[in-house]
Each structure stands twice: as structure tokens, then as C-alpha cells.
Symmetry: C2
DNA sequence: CTGTTAGCGCGTTCAC
DNA sequence: GTGAACGCGCTAACAG
């Protein structure tokens, strides 16, 4: 019952041709005549030969596999990015390995370690919320293999970033609230150790400044942006009194803040308008009135994959390092125009 | 700049211990003393050693990788299943390779071929809509490695299935409409070559029979269940006159049928109530009134992964072949009670 | 408990 | 254009 798999040696013996020639033929080397190539390929099919990539990988130190490291695959944004990555990678003959960090630095470190062991040819990653130093990423880089960051920017040496223009997006979001008549706008911000949240806060500040609104440090609530954080910040916002708009650096906090406002009898968006980032279809069900920044997930995935493929195949790495900013879009589901 | 990676030989030389002992120590074999183990592990860290899985894989013919083959990752159902698979697999030290068939048999065949080349240790698959014969799957089986089917049942020899009880779910859906007062219920059915759709049709028929409703072949619309198919079937349903309920074998067709009904001034669910299968958050946005069968995606993923892991590690394959039916749930978002 | 031997299946030198 | 020989890094099998 146990079928032994055919190897190049089997077809070498069957044909009386050396196995090295068989190998070359199967790799379509130009150094083998069309005649013998034909013969070999025919015999290969006949024997049901399937290349053993394991052996090939060991020899060439390439796996034709790229890894995607993300916080959570079931978030619509990330699964859509992966769809984009997969499409591009698949066309180029690459496999895609999925790894979830669950926003834990420990898991991310473990993942990097197995990716090094497995010698994946490249990595596309949205770093975990807890990631503030990059030794585990640099260890991978020392294999001379490329890393691409997306969604959450990271200016590691020799790495490309594929993100939206977060400063601009946050600016747009804030300006939208101002155009709706908001004058005292709070910001649910994330840790300022994280570049992403620095950028989003920067955009918020810039919009206030442009419109001559007071930038009050008390209006900025830095937190982990979890559901509980959103609740807690919302509570503080109400205690402050007079806040009429909120720009949240993510959707989780935005939605839980909105929930809290409602439980306190505060109307959204009439009394306080809220803008969030990057929200899923599912948050649209929970809070249909949330205005949000939409990221072009599929395009981000394709671009990340394309960039990675380039860096894997060419040797001119140095020149190619880039930061690509894709367009985002403000999606307005309900008006909050102040009288 | 190019750092050479340390191998077991480097740490073997550095310590004057044979490389095979080093290998055993690093694999935590009980046949190495704690003392030397400690020494070796310490030295390994010192040299920044990271196992080369490629070599290990070649030797053991195992990859510690399982593949998930699905139609589309960006569908919420599938990405959630993957989350479940990943959780279980990761705990057990396995990697997860993602492959999208895009419901194309040709792509599925290619995928199977590369999975054979890559010697993944097991496969979890929801077969494509176009898959009606299974040679490409049997080729993989001949490597003596297990395949688990989920979502779309497939009774290939020696393979386990993890699905909901489709007959029962479809029965529930149909009975729900009957309880709402529907008496002429149509069925948007899929190809009867596909087991999944046979089962769903069976449940529909059974419910009609139980409640002494006429089972009319004209009320069954077999199609590819695409958006266009949904439209076309909806049109035919209206031409039939008198239909007051529709059980659709998937959500895509259900939603497009509902859309068509509305364009024709038919009220949903008042005039015609519709029940779909397996719908995403996103379809709930498009059609908030759609009643639907909900599958426990995360649980399905965990169960599939667990079953696969068992079959990969044990040798008693024969005994373990099983069909696991997980519970599904009817989610009712709006009443369609007939007067 | 540890060392020795012998490959896993392929790709890459070299020769010719 | 083709063949012979070697080795990628690791581990199974067998000694001792």
C-alpha cells in the first residue's frame, strides 16, 4: 500500500541518463537539449514524479514561502490584506504562511524564531501593539532576507513600509469634525512609543492648529485603546464637559466610547461626534453611525507582496527601500452637523 | 557583513561533543544527561544557533506544517475557521499554510500539487464548488498523510468530516418559515453533484413532508448560487406567483434574490421571507432582515485542527475516521409572521 | 549515556 | 551537452 515516491534517480535509472541532467531538465536549464528534456519530462509524468521541495530547499536555502505576521486573522482588514498578498505571491509561485501574534510581543518573538528556523524567504508584518524594540526582527534580517511592514509603520533599517498616510488621515478625520461644527475635540490616542499612534496624534494636532482651535493636553487620552480603555476614556471625557467631538486612534476604543456615551444619555453623533480608524463590517453593524477612516486593504496586500517579491529576487536591495503611502478614505455614515 | 549561521557542528566542535549528541540534546531527547544538555543549550545560545528546519525536514520527512485550502480567505466564515485552526495548531508547534482555491478546480489541483511537493504534514480543506472528483486529493493521500474536510462534506475514503448537520439546519430553516405561516416555499439549491447541496435540499424536503406541504419540483431552483443565479431564480420565483418563502442554500444567492424582490416592489420578509446560510457580518449590513443559519466557525476550525493533529501523530488511523457534526444556530433578525 | 556511520533527495561544482 | 562526485544540516540506527 505504501507507495514510494519517485525521485530524480528513478527517472535517471529508467532513462540511463545521469540524475544531474534530470535535475537540470526539470529546472528547465538551458544547458540540456530539448530532446532529452522532452524525454525526461515525459518519463517524470509517467512515474508520477513530484519534486521533493524539502531536498531542494535544503540545497538552495530557499523555500518559496513568505510569511505574514499579523495580530489577528479574523479581522476583516487583515484577512483582506492577506487575500491581496496571496494573489500576488501565488502568481509568482510563492506560498503564504500565516502567523498570528495576537498583539503579544512574546508570541511575535516565538514566531520570528520559527520563521528563522524555517528559512522563509521574506516576511510581511504588522507588528504587535507591544513591539517597541526590534531585536527579533533584526535576527531575521541577518539572514539577508527582506521584511516589509504594513499598517503599523516601523522604520527598521533597510525595510520598506506600506501604509496609508496616517498623519493626513487623522488630519482629515479631525477636520471633518471641525467642519461639522465641533470646537472641543478630544483624541483617544495610543501609546506614543508606537509610531502609528504618534502619527495619528500628529494629524489631530495639525488640524486643530490649522483651524486655530486650542490644543489642550487634557483633551488627549493615551491608553491601550482596548474596549475597557475606550469606556474609561469616555467617562473622563464626559467629566470634562463641553467636548463635542472625538477622534479615536482605533475603532475598538471608538465603539466602546460610543456605547458608554449612549448609556449616559449622550447622543451620538448629535452631542458628541466620533471618528474611528479602520473599522470592520462588523463594527458597522454594532455602530452604524460611526464615521471612519477606510484603508484599502486588498491594495495594501498586493503592494506589500509586490515590494517583497522585488526585494527577494533582485540584489540591489539598498536602492529599493521605500515608504509607500496608499490613499485612505473617510467614510461618513451619518451627519453630525452642529446647529 | 554576511553572518554565517551556526550549525550543530559548530557547537559540537566548540564543546568536543559529537554532533549527534548535540542534535539529541537540542531535541530534548531523554537519552542525553542533564549536564551535557545544559552545556549544549548554553553554547547554542552563545553562538546564536537556530535550527535549520530545512535539513531536519529533509531527514525526517516531516515539515510541522499543515495546509488550509479554502475558497476565499476574506470571507469572514473562513478567516474565523483559520483563526481556530491556527490556535490549536500553533499550540502543538505546527505552522499553517494558507491556500485559496477561489472555487476553481484548476487552482485546487495546482495547490494540491505544490502541497505534495512541500510535503505538508496534513491538509484541512473546504473543497471548491467545482470539485466533483478527487484524484488530486487521493494523490496526496498516497503519501500516507491525512486530509480533513470541513464545511463542504466529502466522503473520501479514510477522511474525517467536520461540518454542521446540514440536513437538520436546512430542516430548521424551512420549518421556521412554515411556523411563520409560509405555505409555498421555494428552494434555491446548488448543484446536486455536490454533497453539501444534496444535504441542504434533503432537509428542505423533509420539513415540507413533515408539515404535509406539497413538494413541487418546480419550486426547486438548481443553480451555481452566484449573484446572477440568485437574480435569475428570483425572477422565476415571481413568475411562478404565490411563493411566500425561500430557503436558499447559500447567502450570496439569498441576498441577490432579496435585492431583486425589492426592485420589483415585493416586500421582504412580509411578502416573501428568505432564509440563507452562513452569512457574513457584511451581508447583515447589506440585508439586515435576512434570517440565516449560523455556523460556529471558530469551533469548526479548532475541531478540524484537533482531529488532524490526532491523525498525524497516532498510527491507528483506521479507527479515527469520523464525521463530526457541530451545532448550528438559526439567527432571526426580523419576523415575517403571516397574518 | 555518547560516538560512529550513513544517508535523506536534490543541486552544483567540476571535468570531459 | 552530459556524467561523476560531493555536500547542504540534520538525524536514525547501531554500536559501545
Amino acid at each position: 500500500m505504501k507507495k514510494e515516491r519517485a525521485t530524480i534517480h528513478d527517472i535517471s535509472k529508467a532513462l540511463g541518463i545521469d540524475s544531474s541532467t534530470v535535475s537540470r531538465a526539470l529546472n528547465d536549464s538551458p544547458r540540456v537539449s530539448q530532446k532529452t528534456k522532452g524525454l525526461i519530462i515525459k518519463k517524470a509524468k509517467e512515474l508520477g514524479y513530484q519534486r521533493n521541495s524539502l531536498a531542494s530547499n535544503l540545497r538552495t536555502n530557499k523555500t518559496h514561502t513568505i510569511a505574514v505576521v499579523i495580530p489577528r486573522i479574523s479581522r476583516y482588514f487583515f484577512s483582506t490584506v492577506i487575500a491581496g498578498i496571496e494573489e500576488t505571491a501565488h502568481e509568482a509561485g510563492y506560498n503564504v504562511l500565516i502567523c498570528q501574534s495576537l498583539d503579544s510581543i512574546d508570541r511575535e518573538k516565538k514566531i520570528m524564531s520559527t520563521l528563522i528556523s524555517n528559512r522563509v524567504d521574506g516576511i510581511i508584518i504588522s507588528i504587535s501593539m507591544e513591539t517597541t524594540d526590534y531585536k527579533h526582527l533584526e535576527a531575521y534580517q541577518s539572514l539577508e532576507k527582506p521584511i516589509i511592514f504594513f499598517d503599523r509603520p516601523c522604520f527598521l533599517k533597510n525595510c520598506s513600509n506600506i501604509t496609508i498616510d496616517n498623519v493626513h488621515a487623522s488630519f482629515m478625520a479631525t477636520e471633518h469634525l471641525i467642519s461639522q461644527g465641533c470646537t472641543r475635540i478630544a483624541h483617544l490616542s495610543g501609546s506614543q512609543k508606537i509610531e502609528l499612534y504618534r502619527q495619528r496624534q500628529k494629524g489631530y494636532m495639525a488640524a486643530l492648529k490649522k483651524h486655530n482651535l486650542e490644543a489642550n493636553a487634557k483633551h488627549i487620552f493615551e491608553s491601550g485603546l482596548s474596549e475597557e480603555d475606550g469606556m474609561a476614556s469616555a467617562k473622563k471625557i464626559l467629566e470634562l464637559k463641553g467636548i463635542d467631538g472625538v477622534v479615536s486612534a482605533n475603532d475598538t476604543a471608538a465603539i466602546s466610547a460610543m456605547k458608554y456615551f449612549k448609556t449616559q444619555g449622550v447622543k451620538v453623533p448629535e452631542d458628541i461626534a466620533v471618528v474611528g480608524f479602520n473599522n470592520d463590517p462588523i463594527s458597522a453593524i454594532i455602530e452604524p453611525s460611526l464615521t471612519t477612516i477606510h484603508q484599502p486593504a486588498f491594495e495594501i496586500g498586493k503592494m506589500a507582496s509586490r515590494t517583497l517579491l522585488e526585494q527577494m529576487t533582485d540584489n540591489l536591495k539598498e536602492q529599493q527601500i521605500s515608504s509607500t503611502l496608499l490613499d485612505s478614505e473617510l467614510i461618513i455614515r451619518s451627519s453630525s452637523q452642529k446647529k
